[in-house]
Structure formats: C-alpha cells, structure tokens
C-alpha cells in the first residue's frame, strides 16, 4: 500500500487554507440541499458546477465530494423533525426518528443521526482505504470485453433499481446511450446526429444533460406544487444541546450495530445502483432483527435512527470504488458526480489505478473530513436546523433557474447548450410526470463512449468471440441473473410490473 501517497493527500488538504475553506463551504451547502425536501444532493451538485468551474481538479473534486458526502446527514433533519424525508434514502430514518420527536426526544434523535452519519462516513472512507490494494489488480485485469459488458450491466442495474418498470428504465438508459452517439464517430470520423451543428461535434454535454433532466423538471414541479418544500406540522419538538450529545453518545453505546451497519452500507454502495434506499432499509431491518427488544422499533428506538444513518453515509465510500475505477457510477448521485469529475479533467476508469491515485486519496480523505466537519457544524447550529425545511420554493426557483442556465453555458462556453437544456428539460419533466426513471439516462450518456470504445476494441482483438471470454461470460451471467432476480421479485410479490399497470 502506498502509505506515502495516502498521507501526502491528507497533508495536501489540511495544510492548505484554501482546501479547508472549500470543505467548510461545501459541507453546509451539501447539508442544506439534503435538508430541503425536493432538492437533494443531485441537484446540489449540478448547481455547484458553475462555482467549481475554473478551479483546479483537486480543489473542484474535493468541493464536490464534500458536498455530496454529507447530503444524507442534512436529510435526517426533516425526516426526524417533520416526517418528511429530505432525500429518498432518509425515509427509513422516519420510522423511529419521528416517534422520538413525538416522545420529546428530537435532540437525541438528531444527535444520534448526525453521530451515526459521521461515523458511517468515516468508516466508509477507511473501508475504501482497506480494500483498494485488493481492488487495484482486479481493475487492471479487466479487458475491453469486460468493460463493454460492465457498462451494459451498470445500465441494467440502474434501470431496474431506479424505478418500478424495467422496460421504462431500460428505454431511458438506452436513450442516454443514443445521446452519447451524438458526436463524431470515433472510428470513421463521420458526423452522427450532429446535423452540421458544430457544438454537437464534441457530443451532448453531460452537465447540460444532467441540468436538463433534473434541475429544470424539479423546478417546474416545485413551481406547480407551490408553497414550502416541507408540508408538515411545524410543531417539531424543541431541544437543547444536552440531548443532542446524548444522541451522539448513543451511537457509541451501540458501537457493534454502528460498525456492522456501516460495513453493510459500504458493501451495498459498491454494487452499482443498489445504494440509496436499499442500504438504509436493509440496515434498518438488520437493526430490528439483531435487537433483543424488536418491539421497541417503530415506537422511537434510537437504534432505528442509527442503523439507516450509518448506512446512508458509509455507502458513499463504497460507491466511490465502481465510480472511480470502472466509471460505472455506484448511484445516480455518483453518476452526476462522475460527469462533474470529467468536466474537471478527471477521467474515471481503470487508468485511475495507474496514474490517478493521488486524486483518489484526496477524494477519500475529503469524504471522511467532510463527515467529521458536518457533525461539528451540526452541534454548532443544531437548534436552528429545522427551519431549513421551510424555505419557500418561490424564492428558490429563479435562483436555481439562473444557475441552471449558467451551468449549461459554462460547461462548454456554448450558448447552444442552453437550447439543448430547454429541450432536455421539457423531456425530463414529462419523464418525471409520467414516472419514467431519469437516472438511467445519465448513466447511459456517461457509459456510452466507454461501451462503444470497448466494443470496437473487443471486436478488433477477438471478433464476436469476445463474448466467450471467461470474464465476459461472468458479466453476461450477472446481467442475466440480475434480470432474472427482478422478474422473480415481481412474481414473488404476486404483482404485475408497472409496465403492465398493476396499479
């Protein structure tokens, strides 16, 4: 293990006031986006892109990873105080968090949530540090054949897990792939779908696509819904710092559970598409299952807050691995982060294991430091955090729209991207309105060039027989198994999939 490189990266961060300043700015911004239901981390990252434009790669990546890694920390606030999850994965926290608030233990629940989030984030970072030496040779052993099938596997998984309908998910993923082909063909130099428009020669800009698919539809939906983002009873319990510290202490009193759920979160995060909701609910289930008094759960058991919150943050560490080394995002949030990394000049993929380890170490330390800073900041501002959920949508919409247009323009300094933004925004809104999952689009757009390049390389090296290579067969097996698992799940639950409209 490159211990020198690991600690050099830590020194790079802590010895630079600029990097520390970025962390101190990024953490509250990430918590803000997590704490406001309806915004979420994905939107936070896309809106931060104009601000990291022009930063060097290390500083920009550090800022974004710090923001991203504490989104769920902030998301616990509305979940616990109002029963409104700030982000999807925070929903599991409501089950015991809200009863704790009703029992007059809001401060303890928030303390437990923040302590667990911080611990989970740190364990997630340490987990990557521990497994990287094992992962590196595996990454380097992957041939173009495996990368092509890994890209398909990533799209299949995200398509399955980001919505109720496999067909809709696959179609949106395929649409992302088709958009990735809007460029000059890398083999022949032929224009594909560019219609002689120069700005499309470099392809559809990922940042613009993400802004169009997520920011514009969210703002339309927010404008249509009106009011504040959290429609909940304002009578959240009042609390003091003493109860907050008691909650933080609970995390360490239940150290076995905290450690186990952190590790489970890391493993789940490593599986593309499975993170998020799955990690928090699986860990909540584990907490109930392993408790000697399971009847307390749902009535305000602090373990019911600790388990999902550790998993929420530790999974971010796990999901960094496939994102950075295989360019297969571990989650939709990571997909957007991946696009932002590319904009900063960081090229995720197997090459990271050879020449990009310095930035990998910085990201891991950034993730851990951000989680620690988030806990400290929370303690400082704890009593006022609940008000974040009452920020009115009306006030946010115009700012977000300006930043959205700004992000689309700055990503390639092309005003034409704003035209593209409008089209993709309209498409994204109708996909959202009619329940088509949007994350597969981003994954398809990002994986498209990797899939095409790997496919052509594989065909040149082995012809169609590349599909019979051992690694390729394993990947094909995984794709088939994952689809079979999906169908089995549908049959087992005795419900028709959404594309047959059991609803």
């Amino acid at each position: 293990m490159d211990l020198g490189g690991i600690f050099d990266a830590l020194l790079t961060i802590v010895s630079s006031p600029y990097h520390i300043f970025l962390l101190l700015i990024a953490v509250p911004i990430g918590m803000f986006f997590g704490a406001i239901p309806g915004l979420g981390g994905k939107l936070g990252i896309v809106l931060a892109i104009p601000f990291v434009f022009g930063m060097d790669a290390t500083a920009g990546a550090l800022f974004l990873i710090a923001m991203h890694s504490v989104v769920h920390t902030g998301g616990a606030v509305p979940s616990i105080l109002f029963g409104v999850p700030g982000t999807g994965p925070d929903a599991a926290t409501i089950v015991d968090g809200l009863p704790m608030t009703r029992n007059g233990e809001a401060g303890r629940a928030l303390g437990a949530a923040f302590g667990a989030s911080g611990l989970g984030g740190v364990i997630g970072g340490l987990f990557i540090l521990a497994v990287l030496p094992l992962l590196r040779p595996i990454v380097l052993a992957f041939s173009p054949a495996e990368f092509f099938l890994l890209a398909l596997f990533g799209i299949t998984l995200i398509a399955m897990l980001s919505g109720e309908s496999l067909i809709k998910g696959l179609m949106v993923g395929f649409l992302g792939l088709m958009m990735a082909f809007v460029t000059l063909d890398p083999q022949t130099g032929t224009q594909r779908y560019t219609f002689d428009l120069l700005f499309l020669w470099d392809g559809v800009d990922i940042i613009t696509a993400v802004l169009g698919m997520f920011a514009i539809p969210e703002m339309i939906a927010l404008g249509v819904a009106g009011g504040s983002m959290a429609r909940a009873d304002k009578a959240a319990g009042s609390y003091g710092l003493g109860s907050v510290f008691r909650g933080i202490g609970d995390v360490f009193r239940h150290w076995g559970l905290s450690l186990r759920t952190s590790l489970i979160g890391c493993f789940i995060g490593m599986i593309p598409g499975l993170g998020g909701d799955a990690a928090s609910w699986i860990c909540y289930g584990h907490a109930v299952q392993s408790s000697k008094t399971p009847e307390r759960f749902g009535e305000g058991a602090v373990e019911g807050v600790i388990a999902p919150e550790t998993a929420n943050n530790s999974k971010e560490g796990g999901s960094l691995l496939p994102t950075l080394f295989f360019a297969v995002p571990g989650s939709s949030g990571m997909a957007i982060l991946l696009g932002a990394f590319v904009m900063l000049g960081i090229q995720p993929g197997p090459g990271m294991a050879l020449s990009g380890m310095d930035i990998v170490w910085v990201l891991i330390w950034g993730l851990m430091l951000a989680n620690i800073i988030a806990v400290i900041m929370f303690i400082l501002v704890a009593p006022g955090l609940g008000y974040l959920s009452y920020v009115r949508g009306n006030l946010l919409i115009p700012f977000v729209l300006v930043l959205t247009f700004l992000g689309a323009f700055l990503s390639h300094r092309a005003w034409e991207n704003m035209v593209l933004l409008i089209f993709l925004g309209a498409l994204g809104y109708f996909l959202k309105k009619y329940h088509w999952p949007r994350p597969p689009f981003v994954i398809g757009l990002i994986l498209g060039p990797i899939a095409e390049d790997s496919f052509h390389k594989s065909m040149s090296l082995w012809g169609p027989a590349f599909l019979l290579r051992p690694g390729a067969l394993i990947m094909i097996g995984l794709i088939v198994l994952s689809i079979a698992y999906y169908i089995w799940g549908v049959v087992k639950n005795k419900k028709k999939p959404e594309w047959q409209h059991a609803d």
Partner: protein
C-alpha cells in the same frame, strides 16, 4: 375505437420515446457501416421496447381511461414553462448580468406576487453573484447575450 379514448399523457410519452428511437435508428442506416453499428445495436432494441411500452400503455388506457392523466398541461405547468422560456429568451438575448436580475425580479414580483422588498433584494443578490462573484471575483466571462453582442458590434 376513438383515438381520444386512449390518448393520454402516458401514451403520448411512450409514443414520443418510440418515435425518438425509431427516427434515430432510421437515421443510423445512412451512416457508414462502422459508425452505425452501435446506434443500431441500441436503437433497434430501444424501438422494440418502445413498441411494447406503447402497446402496454394503450391497453391500460382502454381499461382504465377514467384514471389516466390528462395530456393537457395545467395552468400552473403552462405558467412554469412560460417562465422558463422567458428566462431562456432573456439570457440568450441580453446575457446573464443584464437579464438574470430582471428575470428574478419579474418572476418574484409579477409571477409569484412576492413583496417588492424581497424581489428587489433577490434581484440585487443575483446581480451580485453573477457580476461580483463570477465576472469580477473569478474573472469568468459570462455570456453577454446575442442582442447585446449585436448592438455592441
């Protein structure tokens, strides 16, 4: 069977997706052999999936037409689309520094009936971020706007 009995937002979205895949696959046929391989490998299955989805949506619409979402936009949706289009046209014509504060003010004061104080403060904050933070602080030149560019030659 009457078209309007099965025509709803879900059917329209599925049809739009199908048409996108179909047209992109047809366009790909005009590319050289190597260039069209991947677009066809994705486009043809995408078209088939689109057909399945469209048929599924139509069957659903025939069974439960009363519950289906209306294809027409609500007035709130139309209003948001108009505002977003105004932001687009404004920024495209007059650039970020000039158009954005005016648009923020208009959206809040005219569109959302916020108080004059909030609208003015928000517009000023927008200008401060765009002009002060980006253009002066980070020296990032923002898009000046096509009309402004034309006027300034």
């Amino acid at each position: 069977m009457r078209i309007d009995a099965i025509w709803n937002g879900r059917v329209a979205t599925a049809l739009a997706m199908l048409l996108i895949f179909l047209s992109m696959s047809l366009l790909a046929l005009g590319f050289p052999e190597k260039a069209r391989l991947m677009p066809l490998l994705v486009g043809v299955p995408g078209t088939l999936l689109g057909l399945i989805q469209l048929v599924s949506e139509i069957r659903h619409a025939r069974q439960e037409s009363a519950d289906d979402p209306d294809i027409r936009l609500t007035s709130a949706e139309r209003s948001m689309f108009v505002w977003i289009f105004l932001f687009f046209v404004g920024v495209l014509g007059f650039g970020f520094s000039y158009a954005a504060p005016v648009l923020v003010f208009s959206f809040l004061y005219v569109g959302r009936k916020e108080s004059l104080k909030i609208a003015v403060i928000s517009a000023a904050a927008t200008w401060a971020v765009l002009f002060g933070f980006f253009e002066k602080g980070f020296e990032i030149p923002l898009f000046p706007g096509l009309i402004v560019e034309w006027l300034l030659g």
